[in-house]
């Protein structure tokens, strides 16, 4: 259990000396399993930081391949990865940082019929997806499985994050009952975004994962953290579990994950 080689002690020395992490926290990180949904703008920095921190087993899921327009923000991939599966490319970047961990790249879409198998048994799930159906699907599956989740979303210069401890803190559906109506927001997964803003948020999510696993500090539970990088204002909006939440309320209507239909971007081939 408490067994580290001198090289491992050196690799993790700067976080082992943190009072809140220490040797015991490092051992917890090594024993932990994390699912990162999406190897894009949020998933890339999160994956690299969690690999570097010594999270023992990381599954990283993404169905896409790397495109040149991803590279402005998806820092786990390089120019030579264009055309390769993002999950594989990210896994190699993670193992290059830390070959001691186990990484499982999964090139698949998140669907109602595979999501429970993906989140079950995880110590933490990190939502780095770029569309509402996936965010609701991840929230529903994590609440049903009892798996802690970090929700994250970015657009333009803005970002938001909340951490969900199923049955103990407000879930995504307590706050947002259903996806916004089509047309209310961009349905295009290639919406405007500054790379550093995605990096900020993915890094906040990675910090939440480490805190949740090691028990350090206070999580972003029952709080929606919103920031606007144009002014660098950070705001905390207090949340609470809702008794009438269709997922985690007193009389839940959602008892199994569901695929939410979502219109494809019209003229997707013209998207940036």
């Amino acid at each position: 259990m408490i067994d580290f080689t001198p090289e491992q002690l050196q690799r993790y020395s700067r976080q082992i000396i943190l009072k809140e992490i220490g040797i015991e926290g490092q051992a917890k990180l090594r024993r932990s399993r994390v699912l990162i949904a999406g190897a894009g703008g949020l998933g890339s920095p999160a994956a690299l930081y969690l690999a570097a921190a010594g999270v023992g087993a990381i599954d990283i899921v993404d169905s896409d391949v790397v495109e040149v327009s991803n590279l402005q923000r998806q820092i786990a991939h390089g120019t030579s990865d264009i055309g390769r599966a993002k999950a594989q490319s990210a896994a190699e970047a993670m193992l290059a940082v830390n070959p001691e961990i186990k990484v499982r790249p999964l090139q698949t879409r998140l669907r109602a019929d595979n999501i429970m198998d993906l989140v079950r048994g995880m110590d933490f799930v990190l939502d780095g997806t770029d569309n509402f159906p996936a965010k609701f699907l991840l929230n529903d599956a994590c609440v049903l499985a009892g798996t802690p989740l970090s929700h994250g979303g970015v657009l333009g210069f803005a970002g938001q994050a909340m951490t969900i401890l199923p049955g103990r803190s407000a879930c995504y559906r307590c706050v947002f009952r259903r996806p916004p109506p089509p047309g209310a927001v961009s349905t295009c997964s290639e919406a405007e975004i500054l790379g550093a803003v995605a990096g900020l948020l993915g890094t906040i999510q990675a910090a939440e994962a480490v805190k949740c696993i090691t028990g350090a500090g206070v999580l972003l539970t029952d709080v929606l953290l919103r920031f606007d990088a144009l002014t660098m204002d950070f705001r905390r909006i207090s949340l609470a579990r809702q008794e009438d939440c269709p997922l985690c309320g007193k009389a839940p209507l959602i008892t199994a994950p569901i695929d939410i239909p979502w219109p494809a971007c019209p003229g997707a081939e013209q998207c940036p």
């Binding site: 408490i2 580290f4 002690l9 050196q10 020395s13 700067r14 082992i16 000396i17 009072k19 220490g22 040797i23 015991e24």
Partner: protein, 81 residues
């Protein structure tokens, strides 16, 4: 020398081990002990003995004894908190 008659349950010589690895090894040795057990560290004079003592005390361990040895290094007796 004996820390009030109590013999240490473990010992680690950290002479020549700089910051922060001296603290990492001290925490590693303490992590292997049960609460209330005693670790004896031999550690360099100056910043090492000061920083490691302060950090371990800040994490809830008790520095039972600090004694400078003839060669200038320090012997610390620490009870795991």
């Amino acid at each position: 020398m004996s820390g009030g008659g109590r013999r240490p349950d473990a010992e680690k010589n950290l002479v020549g081990t700089g910051c922060p690895m001296n603290l990492v090894y001290a925490k590693f040795e303490l992590a292997k002990l049960e609460q209330g057990k005693i670790l004896r560290l031999i550690i360099d004079d100056g910043a090492p003995v000061d920083n490691v003592s302060r950090s371990l005390a800040g994490e809830g361990h008790l520095i039972m004894e600090r004694e400078q040895l003839a060669d200038g290094t320090w012997s610390l007796l620490i009870r795991k908190g």
